[in-house]
Structure formats: structure tokens, C-alpha cells
Amino acid sequence: MKTVKLVVVMLTALAICGVFAGGSGETPADGAKELHLWFHGGTADETEAMRDQIKRFNDSQDGYVVVMTEIPGGAVAGSGYNDSVNAAAVAGDLPDILDLDGPNLYNYAWAGYLEGLDGYMSEQLRSELLPSLIDQGTYRGKIYAIGQYDSGLSLVGRVSLLKKAGVRIPRSIDDAWDLDEFVAALKALQALPEVEYALDCKMNYGAGEWMTYAFSPVLQSFGGDLIDRDTYQSAENILNGPKSVKAMNFLQWIFENGYSVVSPPDDNEFVNGKAALGWMGHWVWKGYHDKFGDDVVAIPMPDFGSGAVTGMGSWAWAVSSQSKHPEGAWKFLEYILQPEEILAITDINGAVPGRSTALEKSTLFGNGGDLNIFVQQLQKGVAVPRPKTPGYPAITTAFYTAMDNIIKGSDIQSELDAAVDAIADDIRQNNGYPVQ
């Protein structure tokens, strides 16, 4: 009897748990279809803007209700968001709509987790998108993700300091500094009593995607690269070739001579006035401008010999191939890709609006705007996408590990050799990432 009682008690307990677990889901009103959306935890303002966009979309039509889940850690590389997406992809639990950071896209596309978007996209939209967005979102001829905005790099400086140090301020990508001029600028600025050191490289972000994003352009501007971009099968003699070695030599020189520091305490070295120049992603501009006003100026990336190069690619929206309502998901993407919706988010995060019709309306990026050089960089081929291969995670890890060691004083050639071997190992393990 007692056994029976116990079993009854346990079953009741289980049933209660089940009721609570089952009761937590929201049911959409009036038979509207629910679309789940994952958003990498951006800044609080960005998330708020995203939430507003979703609300506007939900109010604008009756067919679909978008439900957002914010997954934290997205802003930091190698972080929780990617881990969550990986786990969900394996478990078959991907949401209908998700945002992916540029180069992570190809692995998911290769593995078949993403819906091709070509069939949904109108000719007009395609023609108005920044070419860099299409480039970054395309894998093997098909487009899998579209960003509302793109990103870019530049240097940032203060007019007053640059003038005092007697450094020329380039205003467009055509008169960017060359290597000698950049070195001279570092030396002149370092000598100023107002600042502690010349260049903030934001190494407080640590060994991670920032390093690949921000400093693989230095490789490319020296004529090197991360991998052979024709085949994506080998990095031998490219990542460890003489040109890449020269580039890393230059970076090591910057740190070893104190022109930059390997572990700044936080993101504010430029804003605090400790560093004279900043290696800047667009996302920090607003804070800088708020602090220094018109004294702050964006300076195009220097040309180290093989042309100026900047990074590109940002968070972009993709639709899961597991989605039951891809047409609804696309409807949402189309909605947030309207010029005013793009501006609603880029006004907050300071990114480059991804559509020409939005760009025209932007005071920051439009002709004559403070950050117009970012648009020039993206439109005129200065921006180079990170390698478009499913093996990207191995490539970026190999590079930022090597770079982290190099700026802390390791032997350059052997670090780059190790990176090449790590990439080769990954490619071999995956049988060369065969096309399916």
C-alpha cells in the first residue's frame, strides 16, 4: 500500500512540474503565427531599439508575432552567443530568425542550417544594399544573411593634439597616411606631454575576434593574408610568408616600444586622454564625439604598402532552414531593412547604414558627414571580408592566438608557423571542407 502511495505522490509531483513547465509558453493572439528570434546581447540601447522594431513590426500586421530572446555575451568574441547558436543548431532548436556575426555565417550555411534568401529578395533591395553586405552574406553564390548595417575601422585622433604634434590629418581615403607617415605620427604624438602613449589598440578586448577583425587588415595592407583565398585550403607561405611576418613585426614594434599597451584597463584610454590615437571600430565613435565634440576626427586607415585595408562585416540577419514560416521570417527582415528602420538602429549603435536610401539620410555617414570615410572604405574596395569558409573559426583562433603572443614578445615566425599548422590541421580533419 505504502509503495502505491509513494508512487502516487511522485507522479503527482511530476504532473505538477509538467503543468508549470507547459504553462510558461505564450500563445499568440488570433491565430497569428509565432516567429522566434534570437538577438545577440548588444548594448542596452541597441536591445531597446531592437525591441521597438519588433513591436512596430508586430503592430503593423496580423499574420505573425515575433518573440525575441536576447542571449548575452554577443559583443565579446568566442562568447556565449556563438556557443548557444552552435548548441541549438546541433539540437535542431534554432529559432526562425537569428543574427550572426559576419564570418560565422559560412559554417552554418555550409552545414545547411540556413535558408537561402535570394528567392525572397526584391531586385530593388538588392541594388540598394551596400555591396559589402551582399559580399559578406554570400556563400558559394547564394545569399544567406543580410545586415541592417555594416562595420568599419578607422583611426581616430584629436585635431588639437595632431596639430600640436605637427601631424597632417588625412580627410579622405585617397590621401591616407603611408607607413613612414604613420610611424612619424606615432613618434610625434608619443612625445606630447599631454598623453601617456600614442595609440590605443583596445587590447582590453583580449585574444579574440577583435584582433582578427582589426589587425588582419594590417597583414593585408602589408601584402599578406590569413589564407589562400582562391582555394581556402592552405595558409602556407601566406600567413607565415615574408609579407605577413613584416606586418607582425611592425605590430610587435608598436607594442615593444611603448607606442601602445598590451593590457589597457578598459575601453576608455582614448576618451580619458591617455592615448593620442585610437584604432577604432565605428561603435565607439559616439562616445568619443560626445566627449571631445568637433576636436575628434576619424582618420582613414593607413596604407602600409599594398593599399589601405579595413575590416568589414557585422551582425547580420539570417533565417533558419528549420523554420516553419520562412516567408514570415522574410517579411520581418524586409520590414527592418526599410531605410527608417535601419536608421532607427544605426542612430543608436553608430554603424554604417546598410542601404543607400538610408545612407542618404544619415548626417553622420552621408556626404560630408564625420564618418563618411567609412562609407568610402566600404564602397571602394578598401574593406576586405574575413575569409569566407566554414573553417573560419579555426583561422581566426589561430591568428588571434599568434597575434596575442606576438605583441607580448613571442618569436614571430614560429608563432605564424604554428598558426598555419593549426589551420592546416583543421582543414585536414574536415577533409578540406568539401562542397555538399
Binding site: V261, T397, K408, D417, A418, N431
Partner: protein, 346 residues
């Protein structure tokens, strides 16, 4: 009568199973099953996200992880050595682990996965420092807060506070403390040594990164062992001390001949539990150093997560954890054997 006993036994057996069931189910689901899956996957090239079917690769992952070769060179010429390492197919993919200088030139010890071996070394160093360091500190703290002093509950709570704080939070706070130019630790060191010690690159210098991690870890967990020691101390009968007092034993003698021997079982527990916990070191490394600089803080668990999950190489990651499993099992068995035999002498 007989029947009744039988049914009682049967009844109890049912209860035993019922009570044990949740635990057993969880153990099988979260320990036994993953272990078996890991053992199987370690023999394959399984990738986390891939359209390519998984292939059986035998012991290749293990070979990759553990292969070591030596190379004798007459002259210590980096360019020559590089030429051999990159062009000779026998040494392809091998990297220098360390070198020994001898009368007939230099002998290079090469490994195909230097990072794994370094991670293993780092983990062992970590455990070797943490177990005596943290245990010793815990014992001293326990002796201090066991005294009848004013506000001792305050001290107990203070020393225990880091234990209930998340390691991720502690790691972030300590990253600030460790900052070379502005962190409190360097500022204090500079003041205390009148400027002789300054600007130690705690988390960025190969020499200091692992010690820095060890210090944080010990600081965080000592409170836990302190509480266990404290419980042990309070179990020691007071009359032993009273008798020793009559015999004229001093403070040190009381500790040496009463406290320490009486704490033997507590100490054994602390040593074994600390060892097992220390082998798991991951969070502080993930937050503070990402295993760098130059892999000087990479631990085996960190490397397994890095390879298996972030690099998506499930097969390789599984092989790492299988090797580690065997290693930790060996250490645990050895400890068990050594500590037990000591008990038998008693």
C-alpha cells in the same frame, strides 16, 4: 512471521530503488552516457556542425595529442631548424616543446600538439601549488578563527564570502586588480617596495600569468576548506588539551601532537577534494587569460572546451577528455592508496 520479514525486505528493496532512482537516472544520463559517447567519439573526426558524415579514424586523435619526437641539430640556427621542420615530411606539423643543450649540439623535443602537453603541465603545476597552498592557508585561517576572539563570526563570514561568490565575477574583479599600470596590486607593491617592484604584467607575462591564476583560485576557495578544518577542530575533545596543559605542553607541542594528528581524517578529505576540484580549473582561465600568453595558463579542461566546442572538433575534444579522465583516475587511485596505507599504520 517469516513471510512478514520477507515482505518487509522486499518492501525496503523497492523503496531503496525508488529513492535511488532519480540519482541513478541522472548519473547514467549525465555521467555514464557522456563518458561512453566521449570514448566512442574520440575515435572519430566528428565535427559539431558539419554536413559531412563522421568518419572513424582509429587512434589518430590520440596520436596527434601525444606524439613526441626529438631532433638533433649541431648548430642552434633558427632558420636551419625552421627549414627542417617545415620541409621534412617526418617533422611536418611538429612544434618545439623545449630544447636541451648538450656537448654535441642542441636536442629539440618536438610535439605534434604542444598546447595539449603545455596544458597538461600547467594543470599539474596548478594542482601541485593549490593543494598544499590552499590547504595550508585554510588550516591557518581555521586555527585563527577558532580562537576566542571578539567578532570571530565576522572573520569567519569574511573568509567564507569568496566561496559563495561566482568565480566569473571574482575573475573579472581580479582582472582589474591585476592591471599592470593601474591595478591595486601593483600600486601597493610599488608603494611597499619604494618603487623597486613595479609594473608586473600579472596576466600578460608568461612568468606571472599562471601564478596569478593560482593566487586568485586559492583566494577564492580557501574559505571552503577553512570551514571543513574548523569543523574538524571543534570535534577535538577539549580534555586532550587540558591534559596536555597539565603535562606542560606548549602551544606548538599542542598543535604538533594533538591538533594535527586529530585532524588527520579532515586533512585527507581536504586533500582529496581539493585535488579533484583543482583539476577542473576552467572559469578563471576562460575569463582572465583565454589560456594565454603563449598557452602559459591553458588548462586541460580549458583546452578541451576550446577544441571540442569552440573549434567544433568534438572528436579531438573527446580524446583530450578521455586522456584526462584516465590521468585523474590514476591520481585519485594513487592518493587513495597512499592515504589509506597511512591510516593502517595508525
Amino acid at each position: 512471521m517469516r513471510r512478514k520479514t520477507h515482505s518487509l525486505q522486499a518492501n525496503q528493496r523497492t523503496y531503496a530503488w525508488l529513492m535511488g532512482l532519480p540519482g541513478i537516472v541522472m548519473l547514467i544520463t549525465f555521467v555514464v552516457l557522456p563518458l561512453l559517447l566521449g570514448a566512442f567519439w574520440s575515435l572519430t573526426n566528428k565535427r559539431l556542425i558539419s554536413p559531412v558524415p563522421t568518419q572513424f579514424v582509429g587512434f589518430e586523435n590520440y596520436r596527434n595529442l601525444l606524439s613526441i619526437k626529438t631532433l638533433q641539430v649541431e648548430q642552434d640556427n633558427p632558420e636551419k631548424i625552421r627549414e627542417i621542420l617545415r620541409n621534412d615530411s617526418e617533422y611536418r606539423g611538429y612544434r618545439e616543446l623545449f630544447r636541451m643543450k648538450g656537448p654535441h649540439g642542441t636536442r629539440l623535443v618536438l610535439a605534434s600538439d604542444v598546447v595539449f602537453l603545455k596544458s597538461l603541465r600547467n594543470t599539474i603545476i596548478f594542482v601541485l601549488f593549490i593543494v598544499p597552498g590552499q590547504g595550508g592557508a585554510a588550516l591557518i585561517l581555521a586555527l585563527l578563527v577558532n580562537r576566542k576572539i571578539r567578532g570571530r563570526n565576522f572573520y569567519r563570514a569574511t573568509y567564507f564570502a569568496p566561496v559563495v561568490t561566482s568565480m566569473a565575477v571574482i575573475a573579472i574583479v581580479w582582472s582589474f586588480l591585476y592591471n599592470p599600470s593601474q591595478g591595486v596590486i601593483n600600486v601597493l607593491l610599488k608603494k611597499m617596495t619604494f618603487g623597486k617592484v613595479s609594473d608586473i604584467g600579472w596576466l600578460v607575462d608568461v612568468r606571472y600569468a599562471l601564478p596569478a591564476i593560482i593566487i586568485v583560485s586559492a583566494w577564492q576557495a580557501t574559505g571552503f576548506q577553512m570551514v571543513i578544518f574548523l569543523a574538524g577542530l571543534q570535534n577535538i575533545p577539549v580534555h586532550l588539551y587540558e591534559q596536555a596543559g597539565i603535562d606542560g605542553a606548549g602551544e606548538f607541542q599542542r598543535f604538533r601532537y594533538i591538533t594535527f594528528p586529530q585532524l588527520r581524517n579532515t586533512t585527507i578529505f581536504v586533500v582529496i577534494s581539493t585535488t579533484i576540484l583543482a583539476f577542473r580549473v576552467f572559469t578563471q582561465i576562460d575569463v582572465m587569460t583565454h589560456g594565454g600568453p603563449e598557452n602559459s595558463t591553458s588548462s586541460v579542461v580549458y583546452y578541451a572546451v576550446e577544441q571540442g566546442f569552440r573549434q567544433q572538433r568534438i572528436g579531438y575534444g573527446s580524446a583530450i577528455t578521455m586522456i584526462f579522465f584516465v590521468f585523474v583516475l590514476g591520481v585519485a587511485l594513487l592518493q587513495n592508496f597512499l592515504l589509506k596505507s597511512e591510516k593502517a599504520i595508525d
